[in-house]
Symmetry: C2
Subunit: 546 residues, 2 copies
């Protein structure tokens, strides 16, 4: 049996466009010999639709679009992810996270998602009622167990037992001999490999071929990486689809797989691809043709400009060249060199005049204008003000290049570097910034190697921020990973991992006290297991000393 | 039986402080003759703790604090709301939203919340496992049914049937002859009356006296209004506690109530109190002694300054007087008059020099510097930049006075008026701003009546924003209430309510397209049924045309 796997990039709520993309992929798969075509979870809706689903008419429009798709479906069935009403009379959540099996002009099967993730960035229990039983159905001589996202996530693969159901076991009991999973499983570093290993275990456990069709694209700060997989009943890989690309493939599931799923652990390359897809999708879905940003010759802004060019093409990237905070002439030279290498349009401006006039006004009312943070704050906000005026004037999307390490410890300014359109690196720690910069150079040296090396060296030493001495970034990043991503306590980090107590406590307090800044920061692109914002919802003001 | 009701104001995660407050209230109630003392839902934790509860050590610290309270409890029992572990082996959510009945040095009963709200701003299903059965317990000749928050919320009082359990019915079956409800039920206009009417129905249905102890204070943009109530078995009011004040009262539940609960519908006064409590609590819990803001003589900034003085005292309010956007001398005069009436410290500054220098720099790179939105954006950001430097220099909390109507339609600037510390009016529509201004004047004319009247008149007419003509605020506010608060579709608003189609569609598109701005806006104080942010989580970028 040949299955067409269409890893679609859906826009949240844009039913006409999503239906069109599904139909295009469906026809292409049929032409290529598919006997069933599969699209991702919520392919018709775009995941995550959040509170939009609480509008009844949103769901009604979705069902209209589903009927249209059913009408267009011929002898080859089409599996679509969508949102349905639960029941207007029975108690329970009002909606279903649903999959439809469309065939010969009609909706033949409707399947409800059973396990509804409600942790990290997931909120599904807020909206959806789980299925009460999992049943397989017959088609083409097979008995198909159709599952949605989390339904196949075994408890060993999430952190602790949450669920009291096991959909795969229920489907196996019901005789399923083919498991299809449609998913919208977001990317973070290590996720493609982790997911592949889960799928292997699921296929073996079900003793049936497994088709997983995963979404692609960025919605709501989440990047979906595709990487759809087809495994045989022994968990061996029959075929895979590429990461970070919307595409389709027709795979014969009766073939035997040759080996274990071979998702490589290529984190930097994956993050690079994820960020490019993120910029591309955010700009396109938000309706911007071009982007703008400040290029000051440092590694972060050089990296963001390079990524933007990869995402949108050189003609769509317009930069303001402004010297960095040390006002070094050298930084402008580096920026200009990069502009030339990338072939992008640039405008030179200086913040000096505006900064001096602000100092003049503030000199009369401030007791300590020389406080370095007051001074840096003014510079950062003047830069942002000029950039936003430029962006508004030309209808460009603004990109910011502040990194996750600085966002974590609050070394950003609201209304300044943290308040811009899309914060490309807001989930990329400083150390990964350097790795990405080196990766960006792999074809051609865009960002001076000497600069990256200097920054790598610098990140091993402490530096000044305001009047404070900040621990080395290499240390901050390691502690942040333990504290934020793995949620360890200070005690565990100090005693279990041997870090210096003062440094650990310093990082922890900075992280906790700056939640209010992060909650006003620009949206970013999630690439780690725990991005701020959607994936970590801490109170802004609280008294817990961790 | 005399019950001490202590409507406490808890800080999220500050266990030592919360435990101390609980113990102070407990002792005061005992001294006043209480035979049981009740505190609100999560009184030991502070509601909502959000993802903090996902840290195991957070829960462990909470349990330590609970043990301390148990040790301190004598012959008079104490009911405390807290967070507990569920079970490390059984599947299910890891935690419980819990109530403990402490007596003579020990924890005698532990009750788990059964109905876990997961709509609007509530997320409880993400964290907590519901109780599997509701049991009453004996004390002092009574059989007590102890419930938490949502457990008593009958389906007629939430919008649709969600739950498959009825805790009150279960407790009644188990012989409960006294219902105690500890809650953290947040305020919005109309809520105190709505809640009182629910409590009346619950008491009648249970045919038992009902004690509801509700939290007070602001946490995470939510104001808890107290207004605790004690009703007899016929739903008549025996006693009530005041709104928006942390206090306690000892009430004899064997008394007969005299009449139906008489919560008045005094929305403007309630909103006024809620905003004052919000400013007070936010500043205090975030550790700021004083606040600063821009006073430009318009109604909004005058109102916020007046509220801040009520909240914190005149000495804690330091304003920058800057002329309004029309640069009217009159506006400065009004601001100075208010400063004198309120007795607050002020500093005059002008944005002209900085604005002119920004225009100079931008004049060279912008094609259309005269675009009014570019121009206003620069002014707004220069104001914010100066204010933030002033605030930083003095360690003041920044208050913003932008209203909900403008926030709804995107008429605010990121990095400008929308990016400040606490957005006092971000959930107050323009029309309510006028009502609050009049209310503020009830003792003494602080804000010139003539100004308020002029603004009220102006809000009946359309005005210009940028190059666009904006519908009258009175109309915008009515449509916003239907579209945002009641979630009606444009069609329903046009056909069902008779509003002009163009205006309705204009408002709807503005609301939908500006979600990205709101998601970067400063936190506010929720006073309507549907505040942006926590209560309405729409995707930032989406394609649904409502």
């Amino acid at each position: 049996m040949k299955i067409g796997i269409a890893q679609i990039n859906s826009n949240i709520g844009d039913f006409p466009r999503n239906a069109k993309r599904i139909m295009q992929a469906y026809r292409a798969c049929v032409d290529a010999g598919a006997e069933i075509v599969v699209t991702p979870e919520m392919s018709l809706v775009g995941y995550p639709p959040r509170d939009l689903v609480t509008k009844e008419r949103f769901v009604s429009k979705c069902l209209q679009a589903l009927d249209y798709l059913a009408d267009e479906t011929g002898d080859v069935p089409l599996i679509v992810g969508y949102v349905d009403f639960h029941d207007f009379i029975q108690p329970g959540r009002p909606l279903r996270n649903a999959a439809a099996f469309l065939h010969q002009g009609g909706v033949r099967q409707k399947i409800w998602k059973t396990l509804l993730p409600s942790y990290d960035m997931f909120d599904e229990h807020k909206y959806f009622e789980p299925s009460s039983e999992c049943k397989a159905f017959n088609f083409g001589g097979r008995r198909i167990g159709l599952t949605i996202g989390e339904d196949i996530w075994l408890e060993d693969y999430i952190r602790r037992p949450i669920y009291q159901r096991d959909p795969i076991a229920e489907l196996k009991d019901d005789g399923a001999d083919l498991i299809i999973n449609i998913s919208a499983s977001p990317f973070h570093t290590g996720m493609p490999k982790h997911r592949a290993s889960l799928l292997e275990v699921v296929a073996c456990g079900a003793n049936a071929p497994l088709v997983c069709c995963n979404a692609v694209g960025m919605n709501e700060q989440l990047v979906f990486d595709g990487n759809s997989l087809v495994l045989d009943a022994d968990g061996n890989e029959i075929s895979n689809l590429p990461g970070f690309i919307s595409c389709f493939k027709v795979v014969d599931i009766t073939e035997r797989g040759s080996e274990a799923p071979s998702m490589r652990s290529i984190d930097v390359e994956d993050v690079h691809k994820g960020l490019i897809l993120g910029i591309q999708d955010y700009a396109q879905k938000a309706g911007f043709g071009a982007v703008t940003m400040i290029l000051d010759g440092n590694v972060e802004s050089s990296l963001v400009a390079s990524l933007a060019v990869r995402a949108l093409g050189a003609e769509q990237v317009k930069v303001l060249v402004i010297p960095d905070e040390t006002q070094a002439v050298e930084s402008v030279c580096r920026a200009i060199q990069l502009v030339e290498k990338l072939g992008i349009e640039h405008t030179n401006i200086s913040v000096d005049v505006v900064k001096q006039s602000a100092d003049l006004v503030l000199g009369e009312i401030l007791t300590d204008l020389d406080h370095p943070l007051v001074d840096q704050g003014i510079t950062s906000r003047v830069r942002a003000m000029l950039l936003m005026a430029y962006a508004r004037n030309n209808n460009y999307l603004v990109l910011s290049s502040a990194n996750k390490s600085d966002l974590s410890i609050g070394h950003q300014f609201i209304g300044g570097d943290s308040s811009l359109g899309l914060a490309v690196l807001s989930d990329v720690p400083k150390i990964i910034v350097h790795k990405l910069a080196n990766f960006t150079n792999s074809e051609k040296e865009l960002i001076p190697k000497a600069l990256i090396e200097r920054e790598e060296e610098a990140s091993k030493n402490s530096h000044k921020y305001g009047n404070e001495t900040v621990p080395p970034y290499v240390l901050i990043d390691l502690i942040l990973e333990l504290y934020v991503n793995y949620q360890l306590s200070c005690d565990e980090i100090i005693k279990g991992h041997g870090y210096d107590e003062n440094t650990v406590r310093w990082v922890q307090r900075k992280v906790d006290l700056n939640e209010w800044k992060r909650q006003q920061a620009a949206p970013g692109i999630r690439v780690t297991s725990r991005a701020f914002g959607m994936c970590r919802r801490m109170p802004t003001v609280q008294g817990f000393i961790d």
